[in-house]
């Protein structure tokens, strides 16, 4: 199915799982997800004029024909859904990273988007040289980890470097989260805290380090890559997690054993995500190289009252 913006009422509310009790004032927000009943009936992107529209792409820089196919779909979708920015969850260039590689693996495939002034905000994966942070088109301002306020809506993004999470970065993250007053806090980085994939799977060490900060300071959504599949995780501790690691690479069949926390896996085609935030709703579509919507849904942000937090009950 092409990008037909079909319907908006096919909502199936999902309850949160794996919630932990919280002290008053610890978490400030949480999410529920609403998903389409099936990929054949995706939830439409509202395409509202004042919304924040962005895409998410990971593990893409192969320079392969398949990467180019998916990039072409991104450009096609951009014509009708003009996302202004794109977050990159790492492995931006595989193998050699000479100037011609930046062209072949990034500048040429995404030229229509670059020409349309879509800004790419990179995080680094384990295949990326750290000098990529100086590359103008990745907008990292020479930093391995950084945060920025989105150009529209009340959203702040946090780009992290997870192959080398030095204590300084963790301290920085806590300070940034603490002072962030935006309603939406979205983190993105390479290694997934939750993944069903057989090749890598969940990074438990990283989860131990980052998730307590995410829950404490009300991060709503986390985008990751590394595993070459697409996966949407059931909300964990009030956070919506996604793995979007098949932007160029693909490990067919690697999601054949979904973990209990998994809600949707696509391991047979390459996928990028587009999302739209307006008010307290983030509508998302996962789109494959044929332009088909393979997953869609809505993340609904909710304020968490102190009373709810103190109850230790399930948050919705």
């Amino acid at each position: 199915m092409r990008h037909t913006h079909l319907l908006s009422s096919l909502a199936l509310a999902l309850s949160l799982t794996g919630c932990q009790s919280l002290s008053a004032g610890e978490a400030v927000a949480t999410v529920t997800t609403v998903q389409a009943p099936s990929a054949a009936q995706p939830i439409a992107l509202p395409n509202a004029p004042d919304s924040l529209k962005f895409c998410v792409l990971g593990d893409f820089g192969t320079g392969s024909k398949q990467q180019y196919q998916l990039a072409a779909q991104m450009a096609e979708l951009h014509k009708t859904f003009p996302f202004e920015m794109c977050t990159l969850v790492g492995d931006n260039l595989y193998g050699r990273q000479r100037s011609q590689d930046f062209q072949k693996k990034f500048e040429i495939p995404y030229k229509p988007l670059l020409d349309a002034e879509v800004k790419f905000y990179a995080s680094l994966g384990n295949h990326d040289t750290r000098e990529q942070r100086f590359y103008k088109l990745f907008n990292m301002d020479g930093k391995l980890y950084y945060s920025f306020k989105a150009p529209k809506q009340d959203v702040r993004f946090f780009a992290l470097e997870t192959t080398y999470p030095v204590p300084e970065q963790i301290k920085w993250l806590e300070e940034e989260l603490m002072k962030s007053r935006e309603k939406w806090k979205i983190a993105y980085f390479h290694h997934p805290l939750y993944s069903s994939a057989g090749r890598h799977g969940s990074d438990l060490q990283l989860r131990e380090t980052l998730e307590p900060l995410f829950t404490k300071y009300g991060v709503n959504v986390v985008f990751t890559g590394h595993d070459h599949i697409y996966e949407r995780i059931k909300p964990q501790n009030g956070i919506a997690y996604f793995v979007a690691g098949s932007g160029g690479q693909l490990r067919t069949g690697d999601g054949r054993r979904p973990a209990p926390f998994s809600d949707r896996i696509v391991d047979s085609s390459r996928v990028f995500m587009v999302a739209e935030i307006s008010g307290d709703r983030m509508v998302f579509n996962a789109v494959n190289q044929l332009g088909n919507i393979v997953d869609s849904g809505v993340v609904v942000r909710q304020e968490l009252s102190s009373a709810t937090g103190q109850s230790g009950g399930e948050r919705r």
């Binding site: 193998g95 050699r96 990273q97 000479r98 100037s99 590689d101 930046f102 062209q103 384990n126 295949h127 040289t129 750290r130 000098e131 990529q132 100086f134 590359y135 103008k136 301002d141 020479g142 997870t162 192959t163 080398y164 999470p165 030095v166 204590p167 963790i170 290694h191 890598h200 990074d203 438990l204 060490q205 990283l206 131990e208 380090t209």
Partner: protein
């Protein structure tokens, strides 16, 4: 370790001169390591300062040119560098012990999996040579980074298999390494 005797005089504490000096071998090894790493970092900075200034918004050509120029100059300045120059034998012992301690306190298998997640098989590691382009960087668990000696910004720890590398990421250069650094399974 310096032993200091505290004497309370009229309600305030006064430190007298050291009564005796005891040597903590691990602290001494770590101090020695810090000195050697700092010397490398100073060399890196000195050479980098001599190169054309590097913009935060560079083109790939500028990035590549800078990186290779930096690497060549450092390699030339350390032409006689060999394994053990930074990770001396006593330092290697200390580093192995710190890693083993982290493993003993944490989940050994999770730590090992995290480190060897993308291990591609045996790779020839040589001091003063370029880190191989086709070898992905291993993740360094935060827990381990907290327990290893702090490094200046220009260098970092990385694993290739069970070899711990001191990597200069700006120059893509292997500064030194500790073979067999992980505890046995």
């Amino acid at each position: 370790m310096l032993l200091i005797t505290w004497i309370v005089v009229g309600g305030s504490a006064v430190a007298t001169a050291p009564a005796q000096t005891a040597v903590n071998p691990m602290a001494q090894n770590l101090a020695d390591f810090k000195e050697r790493v700092d010397a490398y970092a100073a060399l890196h900075r000195k050479i980098e300062d001599s190169l054309p200034k590097f913009s935060k918004e560079s083109t790939p050509e500028e990035i590549d040119r800078h990186q290779r120029a930096l690497m060549s100059a450092i390699v030339a300045a350390r032409a006689s560098a060999k394994q053990g120059d930074v990770f001396t034998a006593p330092v290697r012992k200390t580093i192995r012990s710190l890693i083993a301690g982290t493993f003993a306190r944490g989940n050994r298998e999770t730590l090992r999996e995290s480190i060897q997640d993308e291990y591609v098989g045996p790779v020839r590691i040589r001091v003063n040579s370029r880190y191989p382009d086709n070898v992905p960087l291993a993740s360094m668990p935060a827990e381990l980074l907290q327990n290893l000696p702090h490094l200046p910004e220009v260098v970092e720890y990385r694993f290739v298999g069970d070899t711990l590398i001191l990597l200069d990421p700006g120059a893509h250069l292997i500064v030194d390494y500790v073979p067999n650094s992980l505890p046995p399974r």
